[in-house]
Symmetry: C2
């Protein structure tokens, strides 16, 4: 395959339902080359053409580039604290099938077994068409595909056992950021900052469409930047971590209670309907969030901030306080035109959508 072929596949993937004529224009090739390239990709069972919807104007009708019915697929998998899911995703991001179950924080082996079975099922059901696996995991994934998920007490788990072929994996927050930037709320941003609060805070910076994964795949641990109270110890071993100032544990501490086992549900309830005594704690947490976002925006020069998880709840419940702390923390010259803070568009589907994107990116590289 050639550079142009790969580029055309990328266009077809990034713009599902693009017409052949538009794709040629996006690539900057003439109709001759378009014929050549499309026929090659059709021959290789990577693309198919279907009549496009009438444009209404004059001229010969064009066709729409769609995934080939026998073309390659990717599997996207997601493991969270409570559940696992697997999806079959075709070129363009359309989800053909989904499966999954709850696992409730079991040992790795007890999660890996049904997950591997589900993956094998899909591979059989789709007759070998799945060519890559992308996995979203609730922890850090090293370049050698080993997972550390402190919250689940999984240490140095070898993910390679899940899938023998082309396999990419990443942190849930990182992948959600990627998905937001490609198909979500941050699709037009030059530099997007995505933050996701659950038990702790994670996120990622997406620089011109490129997610920054760091030297060891562990970038985006913004929750462990010292924006918080230096007196508070973080489970990570450091003190003053921002994460401890904005999540459910922060709310519990401010309310003089121990951190509940399911701090996310607790925090969601408190933020949504705080009692009079709880409201100041919510406001305080929202301010901590706003101030930290401002610091990150100062540092990375983002033009858009997307929030996921509890960040959305805080943005809804205490928007004014969050924004005023945000503005106060921005360098003065940025305050005239502050980068917007918006809720993530993909919600809980962000991580698995990002896993699918990552798998497709990796697969398209090998098809090029």
């Amino acid at each position: 395959m050639t550079t142009r072929s790969t580029e055309l596949l990328r266009v077809a993937h990034a713009h599902p339902g693009v017409t052949r004529a538009d794709a040629a224009r996006l690539l900057g090739v003439g109709t001759g080359a378009a014929t050549e390239i499309v026929s090659r990709l059709t021959e290789a069972e990577l693309l198919a053409e279907v009549p496009a919807a009438r444009s209404g104007g004059r001229g010969r009708p064009t066709t729409m580039l769609v995934p080939h019915p026998d073309g390659p697929l990717v599997l996207a998998a997601e493991i969270t604290q409570e559940v696992w899911r697997v999806q079959v995703v075709e070129l363009g991001g359309n989800v053909l099938a989904t499966t999954g179950e709850e696992h409730d924080g079991a040992a790795w082996a007890e999660v890996a077994a049904p997950l591997t079975a589900a993956i094998g099922d899909f591979r059989d059901r789709y007759a070998g068409r799945p060519r890559a696996l992308g996995l979203s995991a609730p922890g850090t994934v090293s370049p050698g595909l080993r997972l550390d998920a402190a919250n689940l007490k999984w240490r140095d788990v070898d993910l390679r056992t899940l899938w023998p072929g082309l396999f990419v994996a990443g942190n849930d927050a990182t992948l959600a950021a990627s998905a937001e930037s490609r198909r979500g709320a941050a699709s037009g941003a030059a530099v997007a900052l995505h933050l996701r609060i659950e038990a702790g805070l994670g996120g990622a910076v997406v620089d011109h469409g490129n997610v920054l994964i760091g030297a060891t795949g562990a970038a985006g641990e913004f929750g462990h930047m010292p924006f918080g109270d230096p007196a508070v110890a973080c489970p990570c071993g450091a003190h003053g971590c921002w994460g401890t100032a904005v999540d459910g544990s922060a709310l519990a501490r401010l309310l003089g209670r121990p951190t509940p086992r399911d701090q996310v549900t607790f925090a969601r309830r408190v933020i949504a309907s705080p009692t009079g005594r709880e409201r100041p704690a919510v406001v305080s947490v929202a301010r901590n969030l706003g101030r930290g976002i401002a610091g990150l925006v100062n540092g990375v020069d983002a033009d858009l901030v997307t929030l996921g998880g509890l960040g959305v709840d805080l943005l809804t419940a205490a928007s004014d306080e969050l924004h005023s702390a945000y503005l106060a923390g921005l360098m003065a010259y940025r305050r005239d035109d502050p980068p917007p803070i918006v809720p993530a568009a993909l919600g809980d589907d962000g991580p698995i959508a990002g896993a699918a994107e990552m798998a497709w990116s990796a697969l398209l590289l090998t098809l090029g």
Copy 2:
């Protein structure tokens, strides 16, 4: 020009003195294609070949790829708080000529006039060979090439008047980071974090050779992340900025003195030879630096940190305290193998070297 031609030029630029055979291997082309490409580039007066030094082994000797004697050049300019400089730089980074003077914080027009004259001089002296200008400026440069340098009280200065042609400009700390990563102490790092303390703190992240400049070219203002004391107001308009905890103003504050006019010289003196009363202030600042670096490393997952400006002085004078605060701030799992903190190799030449690199990058794009 073709992709391969551009790639070969990039190789010749990134590896000055590379042999023709090695360049072909780096590109992954055969000897036939190498002949073709090199002859095309020689014809276009972009490259020349000279006999390479004996390798010692057997085999036909190869040649070395060097800049063509009549080939394109770039001008690299640097404006600091006190001086301006211009250099003529050939492919590969070799500096052919330098000029400059002090300006001592004059108005923009008084700096622009002699700088423009020097640029014109070089253009004449090198008979039009300079094809691009790269400028390092002590402030933020917008995509439209307008400069804001608060310390010099220059606001929204139009840089385009300096050079009519291909012109790129950037922040001094950003450019120093770029230079460190390409030819300095960070040349092997996957993700390098460069920090430079002068009056305030700036820097940049270099991700796999790619400097992150942000959405508006203002990334790297890490000095305005809230790692500092929330009670201290920063000239930027926010509170608790890290910069105010690690520069000369921090030392002065800790010593109960007003910030001196030339805080860099003051800080350098205090750090190098502190009195007994001053030593705790130096230690405190070093700890603040170490803790903040740890937070950034947690967040961006850098595998190397380079320090410039006063950072080097602190690293020399209070290495133990800086490192212990650094380790304490890292997430526990990173402490076994913490990313090294090293002094920048290019010293004060970092910004102008980065300006030259940026100009060459831009020029190589147009030659491709």
